[in-house]
């Protein structure tokens, strides 16, 4: 156990770069937002949903790997835990949305006789939106705190038996908490994203984010594995079969993403009722339609065919290439959800793609991402890169070495 699994000090360099990029991005974003408040907030929301999604996905993947067991979980546990510990920062990033709520959400401007204002009552008011947001973060916070504390305690265990007890505790906690986690995401994403269009609804919405964020988290973890796996100490840990397992999970999530989205499309398309179908009508106008096609081809078809090949799942270079590709296309997916939503400046109308796309949509995610990564690297360096006392550590490392 004397083996040293501390993160390489080179990460400090990345921290500085990330902070620099994030800082500059933040200034540019602030300047742009000064001139165009609604667009600025929307772009911030895009960055928040994308990067915050990796943090929230990190909580979910941490719990998932406790529940399923398996070598891949031991290998990526510390990465996803570190991602989940970015939560305080994600909360701070939520504050601009809360303060700018009347400039972001059209429902803050609806006439009092609108059917959703009557139907939803106090639920659809800024105050309750904020209170609910605080509750979501409080619940996520408890999850992050407990899971990370127990994981740290496991590292300090005197022997494997004690470590197994901490493992058991985290596993027992993860079961019921997973239920709460999925519910919180469902309600939170309705508030944060779906309510941009107050008149539209889709019951599968929460699951789209549960799956999408898990996918982002796995892809992000693969990038970290690719970098860490090249250096001491992680090169002693990472094996081809870990990559294969994670590659299969990414493949499965890509398929599930397509399945959920196609189901939603088919059901709304076939039903063709005015309550819902406008959402796709907007997104089937020229411009948006091509973004949709890009998503079908590159969020599903291409990664799907790519990941069918076993050799490529086992090759870190190939796997990390597809991971970064999927992360980028995840951003496009989030853009496709957020940007065509009705705008206050248009009195609830949507914009066509050419007017809707703004340079802030690029700056926003960069600003949020730079700061997010800076915080993330700091968290990653705080703990050993693998759970050193975990009773399955040796087995997990051994598993990776096969074929």
């Amino acid at each position: 156990m004397a083996e040293n699994y501390n993160a390489p000090a080179e990460l400090n360099k990345f921290r500085t770069i990330a902070l620099g990029v994030g800082g500059i991005g933040l200034i540019v974003w602030a300047a742009g937002t000064y001139f165009h408040l609604e667009q600025g907030l929307r772009s911030w929301l895009l960055g928040f949903i994308f990067w915050g999604g990796i943090t929230i996905g990190g909580i979910g993947v941490t719990m998932l790997q406790y529940l399923t067991g398996g070598a891949w979980g031991v290998v990526i546990r510390r990465i996803v835990e570190a991602a989940s510990r970015v939560l305080p920062l994600v909360f701070l990033m939520w504050l601009p949305l809360a303060f700018g709520i009347t400039h972001l959400y059209e429902w803050t401007h609806l006439p009092p006789d609108d059917f959703t204002v009557i139907g939803r009552g106090a639920y659809q008011t800024p105050m309750w939106w904020v209170i609910r947001g605080l509750i979501y973060f409080a619940l996520f916070g408890v999850m992050v705190y407990l899971l990370n504390t127990w994981s740290a305690n496991q590292d300090k265990s005197a022997d494997h038996e004690e470590a197994a007890r901490w493992l058991g505790k985290a596993t027992a906690f993860s079961g019921p908490t997973m239920v709460i986690y999925v519910l919180v995401i469902s309600f939170a994403t309705v508030d944060w994203v779906m309510s941009l269009d107050p008149h539209w609804f889709s019951t599968i919405w929460g699951l789209l984010f549960v799956v999408g964020w898990a996918l982002s988290t796995f892809c992000f973890s693969v990038l970290m594995l690719a970098w860490l796996g090249d250096r001491a100490p992680f090169n002693r840990v990472l094996g081809k079969r870990h990559l294969h397992d994670i590659g299969k999970l990414i493949l499965a999530l890509v398929m599930v993403w397509a399945y959920f989205n196609f189901s939603q499309l088919l059901i709304i398309y076939s039903g063709n009722i005015p309550e819902e179908t406008g959402w796709y009508l907007t997104r089937m106008t020229p411009g948006w339609f091509w973004i949709g096609m890009i998503l079908i081809l590159f969020h599903f078809a291409f990664p799907f065919l790519f990941l069918l090949k076993q050799d490529w799942k086992k090759n870190i270079r190939m796997l990390s290439s597809i991971a970064i590709f999927i992360l980028l296309i995840r951003l496009v997916d989030m853009f496709f959800l957020i940007s065509p939503m009705p705008r206050i400046a248009e009195h609830g109308g949507s914009l066509v793609l050419s007017q809707s796309f703004s340079w802030l949509d690029i700056v926003g995610p960069i600003a949020v991402g730079g700061i997010w990564l800076w915080y993330f690297f700091g968290q990653l360096m705080k703990r050993p890169l693998v759970p050193v006392m975990d009773p399955f550590l040796e087995k997990a490392i051994e598993h990776g070495q096969g074929h």
Partner: protein, 177 residues
């Protein structure tokens, strides 16, 4: 006597012995060999030099055939042969055409996997010379067998029998044609 033999077969007690024997056989230059076991043994493929099967490729094309069949069937029916306005939907409502095309893809891929496997394996084949060895009935229970066919280039009854006995099997059998 020699001419009538299909080959020689050695019986082993464990999978490890079988794999070691198979490796030795291959190293000795035998190519027309086969091994029989009550469960699939991973290591035997490499020991015997079994090439990776072409089956996945066949299944991929089976699936593609199903997909194209599904698409062309629906396009033919609803666009070419009998266009009919249903609920104001376009004749080419591709979103609705996905489920049948998807199912046909899977159906043909599945057929290819199963019948391709059986075809490549030469099954069904009720009679095979190895069944002439009475002890071979245990190959589906607990024993392991290694076969060298008489058609092998360097097969020679006495040499091969001596070679097999050198592998320390339980017993060596003549397999009659």
């Amino acid at each position: 006597m020699d001419k009538k033999l299909y080959g020689l077969m050695a019986e082993f007690d464990s999978a490890t012995e079988l794999v070691d024997a198979a490796r030795a056989t291959r190293d000795a230059g035998y190519r027309k060999t086969d091994a029989f076991s009550p469960f699939p043994i991973h290591d035997i493929d490499e020991a015997l030099g079994i090439k990776r099967s072409i089956l996945p490729v066949l299944v991929f094309f089976g699936g593609i055939t199903g997909l194209l069949l599904g698409i062309s069937l629906q396009v033919f029916v609803h666009y070419i042969d009998y266009p009919l306005n249903i609920g104001g939907r376009p004749y080419l409502s591709w979103i609705s055409f996905v489920p049948p095309a998807y199912e046909l893809t899977i159906l043909l891929a599945g057929f290819t996997a199963v019948f391709g496997m059986l075809f490549l394996n030469g099954l069904p084949r009720p009679y095979h010379p190895v069944f002439n060895v009475p002890r071979f009935a245990l190959a589906t229970r607990e024993k392991f067998f290694l076969l060298i066919e008489s058609a092998d280039e360097i097969y020679d009854y006495d040499d091969t029998k001596g070679f097999l006995e050198g592998l320390k099997p339980q017993e060596v059998f003549d397999v009659e044609e």
